[in-house]
């Protein structure tokens, strides 16, 4: 089973990197972009077969290491 974990900064947290990317896009003449926030993507192969077990493993991984829940939130997607 494959899953994708997305870790993003909570909306209340300032993201200077996202702001810099936003500015760079603007200076490149890419129009129509309101704002940019940068995050992380983890593609994970799981050794478990059932989805509820996989969900609990990934939650554990996120809480223990992948996200710092002081400033980040996470989301799990299962890939086909």
């Amino acid at each position: 089973m494959k899953a994708r974990v997305l870790v993003t900064l909570k909306s209340a947290v300032l993201d200077p990197q996202g702001k810099a990317i936003e500015g760079a896009l603007r200076s490149l003449g890419v129009h129509g972009i309101g704002s940019v926030r940068q995050g992380k993507v983890f593609d994970i192969e799981l050794d478990v077969a059932d989805t509820s077990k996989a969900e609990s493993v990934l939650k554990d991984a996120c809480e223990k290491l992948l996200a710092n829940t002081v400033i980040e939130s996470y989301r799990v997607e299962f890939l086909g």
Binding site: A12, V13, L14, P16, Q17, L65, N68, V70, I71
Partner: protein, 232 residues
């Protein structure tokens, strides 16, 4: 004093801090590898040095905070033992939950390597008793992620309990939260734990201990520790 300096892959200030400790106490700290499971018997001070543990992968200090030795460091802190985290060490303390908050990318995105001015906000800690209250000291900073961030409630608690020990100030000695060099909330440069035994700070006191290379404002921090631990 029986100090243990923890070495992670990518630590690079362990020699500087060991030298500063030896200079003031006369005893040489033990360097302890991150994969060890126990601190040397009788350890009374643990130092997490600066550097770039694990190449700052994932988040600064995140992987080091989960190293084997950190269980022993956590137990040492829980017993009231002294733990000092400098720069990457401060990031590791936050990631390990020994101090609240987190250090994120500097507000203006630049790595800052220069001398900073700090105000000593509190002198009744084991780390600052040799300073005068409110004195302005000069410590070097060298970091890309030193922007202290915490939620409003945590900041309020830290301020209410007087746990901000070092604060960045301008060259004229004033606090200016708008112009603070790295964007840190409330100009926070260093905080202590509730029991005052764990200190984390971004600047490097260990680099200002020898008149040969400049100011010696950092020396009093190590002398404070030596004084406390000699009497123990």
């Amino acid at each position: 004093m029986k100090a243990a300096v923890i070495v992670f892959p990518g630590s690079n200030r362990e020699g500087d801090v060991a030298r500063a400790l030896e200079l003031v106490s006369g005893s040489r700290p033990t360097l302890v590898w991150h994969a060890d499971t126990a601190l040397p018997a009788g350890t009374d001070l643990v130092v997490l040095p600066g550097g770039f543990s694990y190449g700052d992968y994932l988040r600064c200090g995140a992987i080091a905070a989960r190293a084997t030795i950190m269980e022993a460091v956590r137990a040492h802190a829980a017993r009231g033992g002294l733990v000092l985290g400098i720069c990457n060490g401060f990031q590791i303390l936050c990631e390990s939950g020994l101090l609240p908050g987190v250090l994120v990318r500097n507000a203006r995105l630049r790595f800052i390597c220069r001398e900073a001015r700090l105000r000593v906000e509190r002198i009744d800690t084991p780390y600052t008793r040799k300073y005068a209250k409110g004195s302005i000291v000069r410590f070097p900073v060298a970091h890309g992620e030193g922007n202290y961030t915490a939620d409003a409630e945590t900041l309020k608690r830290l301020e209410g309990e007087g746990r901000v020990v070092f604060r960045y100030v301008t060259t004229s000695g004033q606090r200016d939260d708008e112009q603070v060099l790295n964007g840190a909330a409330n100009s926070i440069a260093g905080i202590v734990s509730e029991k005052l035994n764990v200190l984390g700070l971004m600047p490097h006191p260990e680099n200002h201990v020898d008149p040969l290379i400049g100011p010696t404002d950092g020396r009093a921090l190590f002398e404070s520790l030596a004084g406390v631990l000699e009497r123990a």
